[in-house]
Amino acid sequence: MNIRTLAWKNLLRRKSRAVFTGLGIFLGIATFVAISSITSQMEGAVQDQLDRFGANIVVSPRTEQVSLGFGDIALGGTEVAHSRLTMADKERIASIHHKDRIRSIVPFLMTAADASGKNLVWMGLPAGDVAGARPWWKIQGGTGLKRGEVVLGAEAATLLDKGPGGTVTDGNRLYRVAGVLQPTGEKEDGMVIADIADVQGLAKKPGAVTYFEVAALCKDCPVEDIVAQIGQALPGARVSAIRQVVESRKAAVDQLRRLGFGVSAIVLLIGGLMVLVTVMGGVQERTREIGVLRAVGFRKRSIFSLLFWETGWVSLLSSLLGAGTGIAAAYLASPVFGIEHPAIVLTPAIFGAVAGLTLGLLGAVPPARRAAALSPTEAIRSL
C-alpha cells in the first residue's frame, strides 16, 4: 500500500465520479485526435490528388508584347516569342536536378486548321498521355486515342455533327472519331483533339510544341525549386507554377485544421474545468477522510500527492481511451472526407494523450493544493 495504490482504490470506490471527471478529457482528446488525424490524412490526399490530377507547372515560350504603329496611328500590338519549344526540350526538362520529382512531362501543340470544312482549333498531345494529362475527361464512345484518330470536344461534335465512329477530314487526311468529350466548360469543348504527331503534320511544324505541362510531385519539396531548375534548363521559356489550385486546397485543409484545433481546445478547456470542479467537490466531500489521514501523520505533500495521483490515473486512462477512440473515429470517418486509403496516424494520438494527462493534472493542482492546505483542525472537526 502506497499513495498510488491508495489513490487507485479510492477511484474504484467512486467509479461514477471518476468517469465524470475523465469524461471531459476523454471527449476533448478524442475530438482532437480524430480531427488531427483526418486533416493530416486530408493533406496527403489533397496532395495525391494534385499530383494525380497532373500539371502543376506550365512551360511555354517567353513572349514579348510589341506595339505596332505608323506615325500617330496605333495599330495595336502583338506577342512575339523569343524562342520556340520543341519535342527535344522534353529531354532537357527531364534532366533537371530534381528529375526524380517529375511524374510526367506532356507536350501540347495548338493550331487552327480545317476540320470537315470548319475552322477549329486542333489540340495535339501524345495519344498515350491523354488519361494521365486529363484524368477528368470523360470520353463517350471511345476506348482511347490513337494515331489517325480524333476526339471531338462537345461543342465541336455538335458543330460538325459528328459522333463516335464518324470521320473528320483536315482537307488532306481522314481521321476516325474515337469519341466525344462530355462538356467540360473549358476551351477544349470547341477543339479537335488528336495525337501531337498528327497535329504537327497538319500544322507542318514537325517537332513543334506550344507548351509543356509538367506534373511534379511536390508534397515535400518547394515547387519553386523545380520551376527555377526548368527555367535554367530552358532559358528562353517561361516557367510558371499553377499555385492557385494548390494554395486554395491547402487553405481549405488549413481552415479545417484550425477549426479542429479550436473545437478541441474548447472541449479540452471544458474538460480541465470539469476536472477542477469535480476534484474540488471531492475535496469538500472528503474533509473527514483527509482529517483522518492528517491525524495519522500524513504531511501536506502526501495529501497533495494523493489527490494528484487520483486525478493522474483518471487523466491517463481517459487520455489513452480518448486517443484510441479518436484514432478509431478518424479511421471510420475517413471515407466521408474523401480519404481513399485511411491510415492510423499516431502522432496526434501521442500528442493528445500527453496533452490530456497534462491538462488533467493541471486541473487537479488547485483542489489538491486546497486539500493539502486544509488545516487538521478544520478536518478533524468533522470527525
Binding site: 500500500m1 499513495i3 491508495l6 495519522v296 501523520g297 500524513f298 504531511r299 501536506k300
Partner: protein, 237 residues
Amino acid sequence: MEPIIHLKDVSMVFGCNGTRATALGGISFDVRPGEYVVITGESGSGKSTLLTILGGLQVPTGGAVRIGGADLSALPADGLADFRRETIGFVFQAYHLLPYLTARENVMVPMSPERVSPREKASLADSLLSSVGLTGKEDRLPSQLSGGESQRVAIARALVHDPPVLLADEPTGNLDSATGEQILDLFSDWHGRGKTVLMVTHNKANLSRATRSIRLRDGQVEEDRLLRLLPAEPAAV
C-alpha cells in the same frame, strides 16, 4: 522521572465576529511515561479540545505544550505531521476507517507515504491485527466487521509506528458494554507494555483501569486524582 507530556497554562479561545468562547482556560499538568490517564467531564468542558492539542492537531492560543521533548507550538506543519506519526496514536469514537480499504489496508494507511516494501507493510499490519485479535479478518472491509472489530482495526492502525502515547476519544462510546470491555482490555494490554494512555470518556467505569483521573469543567482542571501507583514508581511519589 521526566514527564512525557507537559502542559503549562494552556488555553484555547475560539472567536469570530467579536464573539469569544473559551474552550480551555489555562490548564497545567504533567503526565509521566506509562501513566493511564482518564479525562472526564461534561460535554463542552474542553475534553476533546484538549485531546486535539495533545495530538498536535491544533495549536493552543496560549501556554506551552511539550510532548516527548517536542515543543508543539514551535513545530511547523510538517513537523507536527511527523510528530503525530511518530509519537501519537489516535483512536476515535467512530473508528474512522476508510471504507474502501480492507482491515489490513486500513492499518497500512499511516505507512503509505513511506518507502517500505508492500510485503513488509502487510506483514506489520497482519502482526498488529493479530495482536488485537483479528487474525483471519485481514481482508475484510469495514462494512464486514462489527463495531468492536472496527475499533480493534483502528487501534492496530494507531499502533503502526509504535508511538509512546495513545490518545483515545471515547473509544467505547459506540460499543455495547461487553465489547467496550474487550476494547478497554486492549488499552490495558498496551498500557501494560509501557504505552502512555490518555483517554477521554464519559464512562466512569473506565476509571477502574486508569492510574489517574483528570476531570475538566468549563475548560479548567476541576480534579486531578491519582487512582493507583505506577508499578515502577516509588511509593512516596
